[in-house]
């Protein structure tokens, strides 16, 4: 292990931190959607990872169909919408009938969707290797501290805070945001005041899944789009949400930062066990503060 440390300079550490931060963006976007759904609807949506994966695959298809320079941008707009649509159908058609069941049932029901979507993706897109190129404007890399940082990662670094800001505005400043927050705390009261709680749930669910799809679309150029994406992201997203505090958007950001940074730095310091660092940090935090770092809505 010591041999690695001798090669680490401040610049490579800083550069690795930037890489970690750009990965944080994706984690945050996905986790925030999960947190929303968990906070307001009280549903641990295991299918969230599937929506992320579908977002990535849709991005691939739309980008390939449209082609050329605009392909990715069109896909970036269309794919999350497509995912949102699928989630709406899923919610209205099946989910809303189960809201009065126990949590375990809901959890397993979302898991059944993970199973179904996993194979449907395989049926529609096949199991071959799929990848899309980074959009032309982001190809190449910038020299940051003397080491290459892909331009696309810089793009992600900018998008992350923008999405966070947008979500903050949505939940704090808009009417629907306020209703959703109220419903998270006391759904009966909200219903008593005459608001259709069921519709609120629907809207929140769709927004949450939209975010998952957005995460998938953004991640598509950076890695190969394949089955298994759903499994790898969902556990990370869940841990981030719990660490941050259920239903808390800033908590999701904090959790994503912790996760992304410990992972990236871990790769620099101890690559073999890098995967262990984020889990170890999460476990430690949860043992000290089981309800998460920031206030949760439960």
């Amino acid at each position: 292990m010591l041999e690695f440390l001798s090669h680490i300079s401040l610049s490579s550490l800083l550069q690795q931190i930037l890489v970690g931060l750009s990965r944080t963006t994706i984690l945050f976007i996905v986790a925030s959607g999960l947190s929303l759904v968990l906070g307001v609807l009280r549903i641990p949506n295991l299918a969230h990872g599937s929506f992320y994966m579908i977002g990535a695959f849709l991005t691939y298809s739309v980008a390939a169909a449209v082609g050329g320079k605009a392909g990715f941008w069109v896909a970036l707009a269309a794919a999350p919408l497509g995912v949102a649509l699928i989630s709406l159908v899923m919610e209205r058609g099946l989910f809303c009938h189960l809201y009065d069941r126990e949590h375990l049932m809901l959890l397993l029901f979302t898991f059944s969707f993970t199973l179904v979507f996993g194979d449907i993706v395989k049926i529609i897109w096949g199991s071959d290797f799929r990848s899309i190129s980074t959009p032309a404007v982001f190809q190449g890399s910038l020299a940051v501290f003397g080491l290459p940082l892909p331009r696309y990662n810089v793009f992600l670094l900018v998008i992350g805070p923008l999405v966070a800001l947008g979500l903050w505005v949505l939940t704090q400043k808009t009417k629907i945001g306020k209703i959703a927050r109220a419903a998270a705390v006391d759904r009966e009261m909200v219903g008593a005041v005459g608001i259709n709680v069921s519709l609120v749930f629907s809207a929140v669910f769709v927004i949450g899944c939209f975010l998952a799809g957005l995460g998938g679309a953004l991640v598509a150029p950076t890695q190969n789009i394949t089955q298994g994406m759903d499994h790898s992201i969902i556990m990370e997203a869940f841990l981030i949400v719990i660490v941050g505090g259920l239903g808390n958007i800033w908590g999701a950001l904090l959790g994503a930062l912790i996760f992304g940074l410990t992972d990236a730095i871990g790769i620099l310091l101890w690559p073999q066990f890098a995967i262990v660092f984020p889990y170890a940090v999460v476990v430690t935090i949860l043992m000290i503060r089981p309800k998460g770092l920031l206030k949760s809505t439960w």
Partner: protein, 315 residues
């Protein structure tokens, strides 16, 4: 949950089933004997989960952890240590029980979803370590060709061993569920606040339940090594934990034998559906959806319920 009355009919039933299992290898081809052994140990695993899930009402989301730990403990002892094989079989479930204790200690402070999620994160941490410690645990490759004692690798030796161990374990678990401890445990599931109020140490009972469930999951893990002579990190991955949950649900988690039935259905479906189509997960997902909508009490639960209703109707 109806008590089993000690009557002649039941005893004959049990003996009949026992004889059936005993003579199975004589008339079934090898593959089906292997499959039966797999069903038995998976059923044992599911039943051990149901101890805390159905009878304890605890959200045990990462039960596979104890299973995997038991399997890996035995595998590592058989391949890396010079101790006689039989010590491994005894030590492995104890390691799982120990892990149950540690995890329980950390998690039982919380309830419901938090309990489950913390367990998943702890379990994932252990999984991550096993997954990446290539030099010790074989990492992603797993450990294969594990040397088993001659008696177990002889034809059908593994099957009989699994049969005996499963039968004994089921018997023990049955007794535990119907003991005063078991009744208290179920009372805690139904109304924890009331139990606290009358002086029962809820957390301690739950911790004890974790240890016992972990122990039997570890036993199931050792049986896995016996039947397959291999271990892989997937044995403690969260998707397996959910599959075991599904087995309990499928069979009926308010009954004792429900999980075994659920395990039998899952393993059989998985094997045979997997031969004809590669979309086994899709089928499982749909089955699960239908189950939740139409049969939340599970197969056995539904059967028992309809029989109870029939006897009521007959009055």
């Amino acid at each position: 949950m109806p008590d089993i009355k000690f009557n002649v009919k039941r005893v004959l039933w049990l003996m009949g089933i026992g004889l059936l299992f005993l003579f199975l290898p004589r008339f079934l081809p090898r593959f089906y004997v292997y499959l039966t052994a797999l069903i038995l140990l998976t059923g044992l695993l599911a039943t051990s989960l149901n101890l805390v899930l159905g009878f304890g009402g605890m959200y045990q989301f990462h039960h596979a952890l104890f299973y995997g730990i038991g399997a890996y403990s035995l595998a590592l002892m058989l391949t890396k240590s010079v101790l006689p094989a039989w010590t491994g079989f005894v030590v492995a479930p104890l390691v799982s029980a120990g892990m149950g204790y540690v995890i329980g200690l950390i998690c039982v402070r919380l309830s419901k979803l938090y309990f489950g999620m913390l367990q998943i994160s702890l379990g994932s941490l252990v999984w991550a370590i096993v997954f990446r410690w290539y030099s010790f645990t074989g990492g992603d490759d797993g450990i294969h060709g594990i040397p088993l004692p001659k008696m177990l690798s002889a034809s059908h030796g593994a099957y009989y061993f699994t049969l005996v161990v499963t039968a004994i374990s089921l018997f023990l678990m049955y007794r535990i569920v119907h003991s005063p401890f078991g009744r208290t445990f179920q009372a805690i599931r139904d109304n924890p606040e009331r139990c606290e109020a009358i002086g029962i140490h809820v957390r301690q009972h739950q911790l004890a339940g974790e240890v016992i469930a972990g122990f039997f999951a570890g036993v199931a893990g050792t049986l896995f090594v016996t039947v397959e002579a291999s271990v892989f990190p997937d044995l403690m991955f969260w998707t397996l934990s959910l599959e075991i949950l599904i087995m309990c649900l499928l069979g009926g988690w308010f009954t004792f034998f429900g999980p075994m039935l659920g395990a039998a259905i899952m393993v059989t479906l998985r094997t045979f559906v997997g031969i004809y189509t590669e979309y086994w997960t899709l089928i499982l997902g749909i089955v699960l959806m239908l189950l939740i909508f139409f049969m939340p009490d599970g197969v056995l639960g539904k059967i028992l319920k309809s029989r109870a209703q029939a006897t009521e109707a007959r009055g």
